[in-house]
């Protein structure tokens, strides 16, 4: 067990790689009542085409399978795992993203048993034809729920406009049709390939004693057998740099229209500090112009092109990246056109040193605030870890950024072919 000490933040992370390849990180916060444990596999909705473990040929599995698998891991032959956590006074949950599937619990007592339960249920799958069929009804209602949510539809609609082929365009839960094709054998194929310990990370943060906790995890893992893990061979389709659709809209029964402007980021296969710097700069630049203190926000708001539902976000990964700006608008065409112009104008802009310092301070403050949350620490640490970034080294990287870095970033950022506009229009029925 190795201790990583971060002096300025007054935090220590303990790490160890188990013999089977599982990476474990522990953070002790004895002043908290709560402990949060999260067990993550580096496998998400975009991992649709891959070579199954022990096979030679690549397969493509139905859309939505990573999420389906997440649901089904909770069901065992004789019980529902939620009940196990209930009995231990814990609450459990799970989520699937583009690149990850994570299982988690929070508890204030019986932490050792809860950690064992988490490890054991994820590492002991039980899938049957019958239970797979039963789950289709539940997930269909989950998909239907999202179908009625205009924010979700506009978010995914924008991504679908940006991408031609890359599976990031596929809704994480799949579609009501695609999930019908999922079989128990598909689930086992995905499970065996992606749930090998060497593809997973466990993070436990909170009211724990690191030494004893690490012993317990080591002991738990040493009792289980796993085959040797070859490198996982995943493939993604060739994706052009241009967007799939420059403009697209759908109609929904909404009271106010929505307009979203999407930017497809160039894929540069970045990792480590380079990726972090890009992520930070893009966030700070958008913040500078489009947050409530920004000149662009002020103009859009005054002209009644946006309201306080206006948002922006950037998601950068190794193989894909996008930025989406938008929200409700009474003049969606005008709003989208103006935001597009603004994005182009950015190339000629320069942020003054004084303003850049302000944006750095804001970023530092946001980061410090986020560190109050055990969930944030564990989630974000895991996410960054898979990208080669150390969460607790973010602060010095923010401190090192300059207005010149921002200028360079902007000059390489954006071209016309990489922008899509997506709208949700109100239905005009009687």
């Amino acid at each position: 067990m190795e201790a990583l000490v971060y002096k300025q933040l007054n935090e220590t992370v303990y790490q160890e790689t188990m013999d089977n390849g599982l990476k474990v990180f522990l953070l002790s916060k004895p002043e908290m009542a709560k402990t949060f444990g999260i067990f993550t596999t580096n496998y998400g909705s975009i991992d649709q085409t891959f070579t199954p473990i022990g096979k030679d040929e690549s397969v493509t599995v139905p859309e939505g399978i990573a999420h389906f698998l997440e649901h089904k891991l909770f069901e065992k032959e004789d019980r529902d795992v939620f009940q196990d956590f209930t009995r231990l006074g814990a609450s459990a949950n799970a989520f699937t993203s583009f690149t990850k599937t994570a299982y988690l619990f929070t508890a204030t007592s019986q932490i050792e048993k809860n950690v064992q339960t988490l490890l054991n249920f994820v590492q002991d799958p039980y899938f049957s034809e019958e239970s797979v069929e039963k789950e289709k009804g539940i997930i269909a209602q989950e998909i239907r729920m999202y179908d009625d949510q205009p924010d979700w539809r506009s978010f995914f609609g924008t991504i679908q406009s940006l991408y031609h082929k890359h599976p990031v365009k596929v809704d994480i839960a799949g579609t009501v049709e695609s999930i019908q094709d999922i079989t128990k054998d598909d689930l086992y194929t995905c499970y065996e390939t992606f749930y090998h310990p060497s593809n997973m990370v466990l993070f436990v943060a909170g009211n724990i004693e690191p030494e004893a906790m690490m012993d317990l995890i080591r002991e738990n893992q040493s009792q289980k057998e796993f085959p040797d893990a070859p490198e996982i061979n995943r493939s993604y389709p060739e994706e052009p740099e241009s967007v799939a659709k420059k403009e697209h809209s759908i109609t929904m029964p909404v009271t106010t229209a929505k307009a979203m402007v999407g930017v497809k980021e160039k894929v540069k296969d970045l990792s480590g500090e380079e990726l972090l710097r890009s992520e930070l700069l893009s966030g700070m630049i958008l913040d500078y112009y489009f947050s409530k203190s920004g000149a662009f926000y002020e103009e859009l708001y005054k002209d009644d092109l946006i309201d306080d539902s206006f948002q922006f976000e950037t998601e950068l990964d190794r193989h894909f990246g996008f930025t989406i700006l938008g929200g409700d608008s009474r003049k969606p065409d005008q709003m989208a056109a103006r935001v597009k112009e603004m994005l182009h104008e950015l190339k000629e802009q320069r942020i003054s040193d004084e303003d850049f310092t302000r944006m750095k301070r804001k970023k530092i403050g946001q980061f410090m605030r986020a560190l109050n949350s055990l969930e944030f620490i564990a989630n974000q640490f895991t996410h960054y870890h898979t990208l080669g970034v150390d969460l607790f080294e973010v602060l010095p990287v923010i401190e090192s950024l300059t207005a010149d870095d921002a200028e360079r970033y902007l000059q390489n950022w954006l071209d016309e072919e990489a922008i899509s506009v997506f709208q949700v229009k109100p239905q005009t029925d009687a």
Partner: protein, 427 residues
Amino acid sequence: MKLTKETLLEKDGYRLHILPSKKYKTITIVAKFKAPLKREGITERALLPHVLQKATNNHPNVRSLQSAFENLYGTALSSDGSKKGENHVISFRMEVVNETYLNDQEPILEKAFQLFHEVLFDPKVEGDGFDESIVNREKQTLEQRITSIKDDKMSYANLRLMDQMCENEPYSLHVHGYQEDLKGITKEKLYNYYREMITKDMLDVYVIGDMDQEAMEKMADQYFSRKGSSNKDDDQASVSKKVEKVNEIVEREEVNQGKLHFGYRTYTKFGDDDYYALQIFNGIFGGFPSSKLFMNVREKHSLAYYAASRFESHKGLLLVFSGIDPKDFDQAKSIIMEQMDAMKKGDFTEEQVEETKEQVVNQLQETMDNANGLIEVLYHQMLSGAEMPADELIENVRKVSKQAVVQMANKIELDTIYFLTSKEGGE
């Protein structure tokens, strides 16, 4: 577990609650303004926090004010309006990084207090009112917020249920206000309402974080004192309507999924002796993934992705909500009714009661790990006059017997079933 200890001080025109805690890297300051819930003034109360956060005399526009917050290491200020039974509370929340973690000589915390003070007590004023362009723009935004509630079907279904179930009770009033009021709200009228609120509403200020208690008290006094305000609690007691007959309402909209909501009356409020039994009741009935609703509506019959219950502590309501296929209305309805009947008959085990207690205790402890969560718990306690330390609260949860849960189940009465469904769907 260490419990955060609260020091409560009666101050000049406000009440100060100090909570030293080493759990956080930030200091959180919350100011709560409470007044009786009334139709008159409800839209003003929804509008005010948004106007106040746009400009002060010192920072006369949004950009200037927001930049000032950003310079204080992104100090965040937010506000929300909520109902506590038949009362309305506006909360302003500020979170500022603890200076200990910054390599900076500036007094960040003091400056943040000062800015908070400006937003609340020194807004931008023109003549006898607020800045006209700000008021007009915020009215537009509020109007949009009011109409777009309909776009979030779960909230909309809940709103429609409350409209009809609690008709003629102040509780049914909308926290976002009403579109028809907006026209009549001028910058002067809004300012007059503001003067009323800022001087007469009951004000409680909470400060939580790792800090020096005396320094904190001094700063709070400097920036939150309200000279001449009596800080009186003008509490409006909650109305508990007797159910005469169960209402069933079906409404149709363009939706893919139907929203089936049930409204019950519990006749039990925060501070009542049997409140703890209600917590356990809710846990077994629909509060957790191990509950009857989750296990039967979702796991056994695959009718829904979510099926759950929650209770309103100050009004005495229990609400069930689920998202189902429009054609499954009858089946889902009868399954939900069966679960309530099972609760009334005591069709659950001692073991379930014990497990649920631990779940409730766990939830409570987790809530209290969070600065805003802890403040909410303490504020609830204070409003209901049932102040007690956390370990006593936990003790009381653990004392609940199965019999008490059955009694609670039999006290609860169904009032209204509400179904929001598709235009062509079944009922």
